[in-house]
């Protein structure tokens, strides 16, 4: 060896420094005996985490850097973007992290809380950095970021950094155990609304739908080859009040074809609440139109 340290050692030393520097960005959210989830310290008094893995409780004990235990109240949850917000009883020193830029093939460092005030680290590549996407629960996620690293259950909800130390977002599990990132931009957009109202307002019809092929005989009058069949109607919801029943095939909502789910999902933002919507549908072989009034969706 020459006196010049080799590249691999330099990378390793830099990663050690990054992991140590990240210790004040994470907290362990205690779920039970020796079980926890990781939270990301967003502001001095606000922690965000993965909504899908946070039990339905009002209050949690958090273990911050160095082992300090603080209590936090759940201040809001949004299943549509998978973000839950906890408000700390005692503020922590807030880290300053600029937003990172996700690029396919770039290095990503995921940090988890170890439960005693320290951190655990995971290194991998950004397996895929794609455009915005809509979750199954109707939320808009600003970018599709998939990581190729392994993550333990207890590390979910922690920060993911790029090589420059920029914050890509918080880690969570997608389908089939895939590790994905809820981007910083999405957290920044959702946190103020969650902090204010405790939930994200969204329009609601009260139906569960599944895509079906329109029967051949009805394609011409329907003007499209697929639609969304009503599988169930929630009692006393807007759809029920408008007389929708299981078996109806929705063709369009206010002129937007249900062949494009994403476009339909976009019609149900906060501004849709209270608006009348015309639903064109197939019932007993006839194409008819019914009018509903979109109401606000409460906790999923």
């Amino acid at each position: 060896m020459t006196d010049q340290p080799d590249v691999l050692a330099q990378v390793s030393t830099a990663l050690v420094a990054r992991a140590a520097a990240a210790s004040n960005t994470v907290v362990a959210i205690r779920l039970g005996y020796e079980r926890h989830l990781t939270g990301l310290v967003w502001q001095s008094d606000i922690v965000v985490t993965s909504e899908q893995s946070l039990p339905q409780r009002d209050e949690f004990e958090l273990v911050a850097a160095g082992g300090t235990v603080v209590t936090a109240a759940v201040a809001g949850r949004d299943p549509s973007t998978n973000i839950a917000l906890l408000r700390l009883a005692t503020p922590l020193s807030a880290p300053v992290n600029g937003a990172g830029e996700a690029q396919t093939g770039a290095l990503a460092l995921a940090i988890g809380a170890d439960g005693t005030g320290g951190v655990s680290a995971r290194l991998g590549l950004v397996n895929l950095a794609g455009p915005e996407w809509h979750s199954m629960r109707g939320g808009l996620i600003d970018r599709r970021i998939v990581l190729d690293l392994a993550l333990a259950r207890r590390e979910e909800g922690g920060p993911v950094f790029d090589a420059a130390g920029g914050l890509l977002g918080l880690s969570t599990f997608g389908p089939r155990g895939q590790v994905i990132v809820i981007p910083t931009a999405t957290i920044a957009r959702i946190v103020p609304q969650l902090a204010k109202d405790g939930h994200i307002a969204r329009g609601w019809l009260g139906v569960a739908l599944q895509a079906v092929a329109v029967p051949d005989a009805l394609r011409e009058s329907a003007g499209q080859s697929s639609g969304l069949m009503v599988m169930s109607v929630i009692d006393d919801g807007p759809a029920a009040r408008a007389g929708l029943v299981a078996g109806d095939i929705m063709l369009s909502v206010d002129g937007t074809s249900t062949q494009r789910w994403r476009k339909v999902a976009r019609l149900f933002g906060a501004d849709s609440i209270g608006r009348k919507a015309d639903i064109r549908l197939i019932r007993s072989g006839q194409v008819i139109t019914v009018q509903t009034t979109i109401t606000e969706r409460h906790a999923a």
């Binding site: 039970g32 993965s50 996407w133 979750s135 199954m136 109707g138 333990a152 569960a208 092929a213």
Partner: protein, 187 residues
């Protein structure tokens, strides 16, 4: 499988450590394991298999059967509410060096709305046939229920099998229910 491992499976009694934090659940699972004819041992003792829920003990090197959780590296993965028969079968299988996965064990995770392939979408009639299929009805009984000919039932079944990529009736029902679970959207 090694000879020693083969003997292990055939043995009536395996040593099972139940690593579950909640005392009541630990007792319950201990009873399930004991009733299946195994010996429940402490976590530190010699054990052939570890049964755990949520999160496996760190650094555990013995085969683990997990009940729920997203720790997909373990030999056995069952859902949190797996029944006694499944737990016993999984314990014996992982002791023999096999990997066990229950189809519903891996938690679904935070996913995207899928825009399904238009050609593979089922028609409302095919969904009716599928419902009847799931109830175990014969072709004749399906024809009677839907008041269609036996020939038409066969026609719908062929189309269902093709769209779902299934070869048997059971497979068609399983694939359709998986599709319904991942593709149902709520508005």
């Amino acid at each position: 499988m090694s000879e020693a491992a083969a003997q292990l499976v055939l043995a009536q009694r395996l040593r099972v450590a139940v690593c579950v934090a909640d005392a009541r659940r630990r007792n319950l699972l201990g009873r399930v394991v004991a009733e299946a004819g195994h010996l429940v041992v402490d976590g530190d003792e010699m054990a052939d298999v570890v049964l755990a829920d949520g999160e496996a003990p760190r650094g555990e090197t013995r085969p683990v059967v997990m009940l729920g959780g997203a720790d997909t590296d373990r030999a056995g993965m069952l859902s949190r509410d797996a029944d006694a028969r499944q737990i016993d079968a999984a314990i014996r299988a992982v002791a023999a060096g096999l990997i066990v996965r229950a189809p519903d064990a891996i938690e679904s995770g935070f996913g995207a709305i899928n825009e399904p392939d238009g050609h593979a979408l089922l028609t409302p009639r095919e969904l009716d046939v599928l419902t009847a299929l799931a109830e175990g009805l014969t072709n004749k009984a399906i024809a009677r229920r839907l008041t269609i000919s036996l020939h038409t039932v066969k026609f719908h079944l062929e189309s269902l099998f093709r769209k779902l990529g299934a070869r048997t009736r059971t497979e068609a029902v399983a694939k359709a229910s998986e599709r319904r679970r991942s593709e149902t959207i709520t508005l």
